[in-house]
């Protein structure tokens, strides 16, 4: 379970996050959604332990971030950066196994874990010997998920996982991603600006606007019982294409 509790954060006196609360139950997939400038990237960096915050708690299974060293915390949160964020100078295999090697894992243990994850994300074994620039966008995304899952973290954090992919690949990868999440059985927090992605992948959505949580709930709840006119306008703004009736 991932808990963000009463998070406040100011930059040079200007509030960026105000009293943010968010809970992702164990095994659930949750989307944090907001437009650019909403504070979602700041919240992501706080959750990763990259920047300090002013008040509140970040907890995994009721253990606070502050009680861990950065290394311990990193092993509890598997992070998939935007576009995969693979290191360009090493192969897929070395990207996946980098942290385990630094932690002194034995080679057979590393090989076994990589193989297990490779099967889970259904990646062709040959891809792991390639450098990132030799992989397709979808392959990079899957290698990045393997890397994030390598140390068996309790929580997975994904930043705009589909942003850079073209629409057709997006559609098919979304389906794969959903089944990968199910097989991983991890607590997942997804940060995105794309409502479609959030609705498709996550059970619950938290909408962030100007540093505050506007509403948390299922898509249905947001659609039918908006807590604020902004929720409706945010949803409507993302339904950009007219439907068949409107075109006719």
């Amino acid at each position: 379970m991932l808990t963000l509790q009463n998070i406040d954060k100011r930059f040079e006196g200007r509030p960026v996050l105000s009293d943010v609360n968010l809970t992702v139950p164990k095994g659930a997939t949750h989307a944090l959604i907001g437009s650019s400038g909403s504070g979602k990237t700041t919240l992501l960096r706080i959750t990763l332990g990259l920047i300090p915050f002013d008040t509140g708690y970040v907890k995994i299974n009721d253990q606070a971030l502050l009680s861990f060293s950065p290394v311990q915390w990193a092993d509890r949160i598997g992070y998939v950066p935007q576009d995969g964020g693979l290191f360009p100078h090493i192969t897929g295999f070395h990207n996946v196994s980098l942290i385990a090697r630094l932690r002194g894992w034995e080679k057979p243990k590393i090989a076994a874990r990589v193989e297990e994850l490779r099967k889970l994300v259904e990646l062709d074994a040959a891809v792991l010997d390639r450098f990132p620039f030799e992989m397709s966008g979808g392959q990079q995304q899957r290698v990045a998920i393997m890397r994030a899952a390598m140390m068996d973290p309790q929580v997975m954090l994904l930043d705009e996982p589909m942003a850079a992919l073209d629409p057709l690949i997006r559609r098919s990868l979304q389906q794969e991603l959903k089944s990968i999440f199910q097989r991983l059985a991890k607590t997942v927090l997804l940060v995105t600006h794309d409502l479609g992605e959030a609705v498709y992948l996550a059970e619950k959505i938290t909408l962030l606007h100007e540093g505050k949580v506007v509403q948390s709930g299922t898509y249905r709840e947001l659609l039918l019982h908006p807590a604020d006119p902004f929720v409706t306008s945010f949803i409507n703004a993302q339904r950009t294409l007219p439907d068949a009736a409107e075109v006719a």
Binding site: R45, P70, Y79, P88, I90, F133
Partner: protein, 510 residues
């Protein structure tokens, strides 16, 4: 607010550590001037007569001494030689009274030998009596040009000087008793666009080729006759007297009285004609300086080196110079480049400083370094280190700065420590740029190291400098060709190193 969160926010203490190590390495280079001098060191100026006199001095000392003699012949300029003498890097060399009063003591009023000797003694330097010949500045034109314009003396130039094309040596142009004073004294108004500054030995080439009409020369130059030049009479007696003398450190004359006596025995023993003849043997017949000096002294010439063994020796010297300089510039330059990224203000200072060093002319830099390091390898190494610093510092800085910050943040999010981020992510990603900087530094130092000969450090520069003073192209080539080959080989080695050091994922992309 949690202090632990900030601990890992940026690659932390590594930069401080390496910066400190770099500073230590710089300081360990410094106190070098006071090295104990076991051998007797003979210096010389970098033109034919200088080499001949240097060789005569060295052989005369060797004839009476058990102390080994080191030859630092062909050192850059009067200034370098005099600094070398004062700092004890050389013991003795031949100079001219006019040079001593005008350029060194800056006392043109001193006319008598005695007065000059007194002035030098105040600097703990001893001057011998005259060696017997006078080598003053003179102006010369082609015989044919002289006939055409009825020229016999400098004064005869009046009226035609504005159309005269001249080539003068740098020293002549800049000395108080050189061009400016001469023109003023004779009321001559040369056209500035027709007055060229060039290396002395090349002025003969220029007048031979008809590119210029008038050159300055030394009255004992061997090529006067060969080039069919007419020396114009100094009818106003403008040029000071340039009597050749030995100048030595007082400490040397006291510690080695027998050797100093051997040099004093040469007083009044070299006539102007025999000096011209010796210069001609070097410039025109291409005899070795050692042989010419031995003939003059009536002794046997020391065994001369074969071309192969001398090239081998110069290769060793050159490799040593470039290798050590490179090692230092890498050990200092990479940490400095890293520190420049880490500490913003200091970083700018480091970059500006290393760029400034680059703008100091190499001869001037060598001159500054002699009081600190003496002559020979040390100042040459220091200068080379300083010159090869900029490409390494700049490329390290640029290479690290160009690493996408998202990779650094991701690495932190994965729990990599500052040191792990540096060695696993930053340096590998920056390595192509850093290596390119080291490659540039290497190629540049192979070229610049040829200047090391001017401070007596040997290397491929030695034949280039002496060949230049003799206008002897084959000799120049024995230095220039191996230097070019070494640069090519270094280039190839770096291509191979690139295959080994640059991560494959980056190489294929490039």
């Amino acid at each position: 607010m949690n202090p632990r969160l900030t601990r890992n926010t940026r690659a932390g203490s590594w930069a401080k550590g390496v910066a400190a190590a770099g500073a230590l390495a710089i300081f360990s280079l410094l106190p070098a001037g006071a090295m104990a001098i076991a051998p007797i060191v003979v210096g010389s100026k970098a033109f034919t007569e200088g080499y001949v006199l240097g060789e005569i001095a060295a052989q005369s000392i060797e004839a009476v001494s058990n102390t080994p003699v080191t030859r630092k012949l062909g050192m850059g300029s009067t200034g370098i030689l005099f600094e070398a003498l004062k700092s004890g890097a050389i013991d003795v060399y031949a100079d001219y009274t006019g040079t001593l009063t005008e350029a060194i003591l800056k006392r043109p009023d001193l006319k008598s030998l005695d007065a000059i000797q007194q002035a030098l003694l105040a600097m703990d330097l001893v001057m011998s009596g005259p060696l017997g010949f006078d080598d003053s500045y003179a102006l010369a034109v082609k015989e044919s040009f002289a006939e055409q314009h009825h020229l016999h003396s400098i004064g005869d130039l009046a009226g035609i000087e504005a159309g005269v094309r001249a080539a003068f040596s740098y020293e002549f142009m800049d000395r108080k008793d050189g061009f400016q004073g001469m023109a003023a004294s004779y009321h001559l108004h040369f056209a500035p666009q027709h007055v060229n500054r060039m290396e002395h030995s090349l002025t003969y080439q220029a007048i031979d080729d008809g590119a210029v009409d008038l050159i300055d020369l030394y009255s004992t130059d061997a090529k006067i006759e060969k080039s069919r030049l007419r020396v114009l009479e100094d009818d106003r007696g403008y040029f000071p007297v340039y009597q050749a003398v030995w100048v030595a450190r007082k400490a040397f004359t006291e510690r080695h009285p027998r050797e100093w006596q051997a040099l004093l025995a040469l007083q009044n023993s070299i006539s102007a004609q025999s000096m011209i003849d010796m210069n001609a043997q070097a410039d025109i017949q291409h005899l070795s300086f050692a042989k010419i000096a031995a003939q003059h002294l009536g002794s046997e010439a020391p065994r001369s080196q074969s071309l192969k063994s001398s090239v081998l020796q110069r290769t060793r010297e050159h490799l040593w110079l470039v290798g050590i300089a490179l090692l230092f510039s890498v050990l200092i330059g990479i940490p400095l480049g890293m520190a420049a990224v880490r500490f913003h203000a200091a970083g700018q200072a480091i970059l500006i400083l290393s760029a400034l060093i680059q703008t100091v002319p190499s001869l001037a830099l060598l001159c500054f370094l002699i009081p600190l390091f003496g002559v020979g390898m040390r100042p040459a190494l220091a200068a080379l280190c300083m010159y090869s610093l900029l490409p390494v510092v700049l490329n390290t800085f640029t290479g690290i700065r160009s690493v996408d910050p998202k990779h650094l943040e991701n690495a932190r999010a994965f729990g990599l420590t500052g040191r792990q981020i540096l060695f696993r992510i930053v340096l590998p990603l920056a390595s192509p740029t850093v290596l390119a900087g080291i490659k540039t530094a290497t190629i540049v130092s192979i070229g610049t190291a040829t200047l090391a000969a001017l401070v007596g450090a040997g290397g491929y520069g030695a034949p280039i400098v002496s060949g230049l003073s003799l206008n002897d192209v084959p000799t120049i080539l024995t230095g220039a060709i191996p230097a070019a080959l070494m640069a090519l080989i270094a280039y190839g080695i770096f291509e191979l190193l690139g295959l080994l050091l640059i991560p494959a994922g980056l190489r294929k992309q490039a």
